[in-house]
Every structure is written in structure tokens, then in C-alpha cells.
Symmetry: C2
Subunit: 201 residues, 2 copies
């Protein structure tokens, strides 16, 4: 087991799994070490501190999420397509790394004050990406003129909740999940009075 390449990456992944299961505070360095069949002291040849582990995970995921929304906003689509793409990317990121995503979504609260401020800026930046799409849709007159903040918060809370119930061996693929959520968010729950034009790519 020792001497494998990317020992640091293994620590990060093990830590993410335990942080997700028990929370950052409740998962001890000894827990992480034991899960790797190692002593706690050995971890410190690869990482500086427990807090560093949390910071690396949080900021690495933040980068990925931001890159995903930036990509969507760069390529020109209409607002509906953009929103569907943004949701799809988000679902993919979450389902492809549930453990690290969970840390990004929930455990950032435990970041030390300085890192926390920096993190919140990035998080805000990501939310702004969605905000921009919704506002665009309203301006283009293809979205109802709803309060954008409400829409964005509803959208993000819906997609983030996926991480609580998604199991990689389930019946639905990330693409199908994204389509369902997008349909629901775009179409709403109430029955329409005319045939829904649906989504034309």
C-alpha cells in the first residue's frame, strides 16, 4: 500500500469521504489514517495540517464549478439552452465526485476565517453565473419575469440536493437527472392549458 504514486491525492479522497460521512470536525486525523492503514503522524509528511486538507478540497472544487459555468456562458446559446447546460454540468460534477462535492457544499463552514472569506467570493461568483443566465432569459423574453434571485436559489438548492440521494448504481444517469430537473424548473408543476412546445435543440 505504501509508496504508491499520488499518496497526497489518496489522502484527500479518503479525507473527503470521511468529512462527508461524519463532518469535518467529527472526522479525526486518526480516522483518516486508519482508513488508509497508516498512523496519524504519517499523514504529516504529505500535508501540512487538517485545515489544509479542507482548503485544498474546497478550493479545487470551487475552481471546477466556476470553470463549468464560465464555459457555458462563453459559448453562445439562448438562455434556455444555457440553463440546461449549466444544470447538466453541475449534475455531472456532483455525480462524478460526490465526496469532494459534499465537502464543497457543506463543510466549507469549517474553513479558517481568511480562507472562508476567499471561498465565499468564489461561491458568489458561481451563483452570479446562474443569475446572469436567468436575467438573460428574462430580457430575451423567453423566461417569465420572476425575481432572478428566487429562481437561482431554487435551482441551486434543487441540484445540490441531488448529492443527498444520488447513488452511482441507481437507474438514472446524470444526464437523465439533469433533464428531469431542467424540465421541472422550466416547466413548473401546474398543468398548462396548451400543448407545451417543449425543448427544441
Amino acid at each position: 500500500m505504501p509508496n504508491t504514486p499520488n499518496r497526497k491525492a489518496q489522502i484527500l479522497q479518503t479525507a473527503a469521504t470521511l468529512f462527508r460521512e461524519r463532518g469535518y470536525q467529527a472526522a479525526s486525523m486518526r480516522d483518516i489514517a486508519t482508513a488508509m492503514h497508516i498512523e496519524a503522524a504519517s499523514l504529516y509528511h504529505h500535508i501540512k495540517s487538517k485545515e489544509e486538507i479542507l482548503e485544498i478540497i474546497c478550493f479545487d472544487m470551487a475552481e471546477q464549478f466556476i470553470a463549468a459555468i464560465a464555459e457555458v456562458n462563453d459559448i453562445y446559446f439562448n438562455a434556455e439552452e444555457k440553463l440546461r447546460m449549466a444544470i447538466l454540468n453541475h449534475v455531472k460534477l456532483i455525480t462524478q465526485n460526490q465526496e469532494r462535492s459534499a465537502v464543497f457544499l457543506h463543510e466549507w463552514r469549517s474553513l479558517p476565517a481568511a480562507a472562508l472569506n476567499e471561498f465565499l467570493v468564489l461561491r458568489n461568483q458561481y451563483e452570479s453565473g446562474f443569475n446572469q443566465i436567468v436575467k438573460e432569459g428574462i430580457e430575451e423574453d423567453i423566461f417569465d419575469s420572476i425575481e432572478p434571485k428566487f429562481a437561482v436559489l431554487s435551482i441551486l438548492s434543487s441540484v445540490n440536493w441531488i448529492n443527498e440521494w444520488y447513488k452511482p448504481d441507481g437507474k438514472m444517469s446524470p444526464g437523465e437527472i439533469a433533464k428531469n430537473i431542467s424540465d421541472f424548473i422550466l416547466g413548473g408543476l401546474r398543468k398548462k392549458l396548451v400543448t407545451d412546445p417543449g425543448y427544441q435543440p
Copy 2:
């Protein structure tokens, strides 16, 4: 400060506030005691253990949420009215006690195994209440025939997210928040092709 009535209730409220801010594990008995201008040992004349505090808060809130949805489902309305009432009750419960609600929503993970199982049953019971409403709406043909589980999870994640940004001194009342969310969930984001019939009470 001592000798006031309901000392136990004060402990529960103080604990809930700290549990919400820092998480159950990170908030120590000494933190709670200090916040009350008391020594940690003094807490044990009112409560049995730290875990008991968590249990009381979680189960008390669970009871209130279940009572709220049961009431809605008892009184006969059509499905849309039921859903709006359920969302309104939920928003009211959250905004009227943000601290305890936050513990109910997030900190239950730290419950000891036995209590945790019991808790999950109650939580499921609450979700079933919403599930029933959505299924009713589909049967009555006033909701689109969407996967009910998806709708319920989207609805609940949206309303639960309120707790992250709601401030009692904000511009929106709980009633207005509930109406906005209900409209969004029922109506969806995409522009309709005919005049929206809206909500007729």
C-alpha cells in the same frame, strides 16, 4: 439571570443557536455555558447530556413539521391549495425558529444511532405528506404527470434553502416568500403561450 423560569428552554435555545453557527460537534458544552454566563457543569442540573439536547431539538421540530403537514392533508382543499398551504406552513415554521429548524435540517446527522433511526422515520413521514399531495394533484389532473419524487425533493430543497438566507428584518414576509416559491414551483420558469390562469382561491 439565574432562577428565571424555563431554564431548560433557555439552554435548548442557546444550544440551537450555537449548533447552527458552528455545528453540533464544534459547539462545546463550555461554549453553551459561556453564552449563558454559567459554568459548563451547571448545565447538567437541567439536561442529562449533550446528546440529549440534540435529541430534544430534533424530535420537537420533527413533531411540529409533521403536525403541520397532517393538518393540511386533513382539511380538504384541491391539490394546489394543499401544496400552497404546506409550503406556507413550512416557511412559517422555519422563519419563526431558524435556529432550531437549522438543527432539525442539518445537525440530526450527529444523533446517536438509535435516535437517528427513529428520526429518519419521522423525516420520511413528513416527505410522504408532500408526496401524497403531488400524487393527488396528478390524479386530479391539475398537475403535470411528473415523477412525484423529483417534484417533492425539488420543493423541499427549495423551501429548506430559505433558512440559509432569510433574515427576520428583511423586506419579505414569510407569507410573501411562500407565495413566490409556490408560484415558481407551480408555474415554472419558461414563458407560457397563453395567459396564466393563476391561482383562484
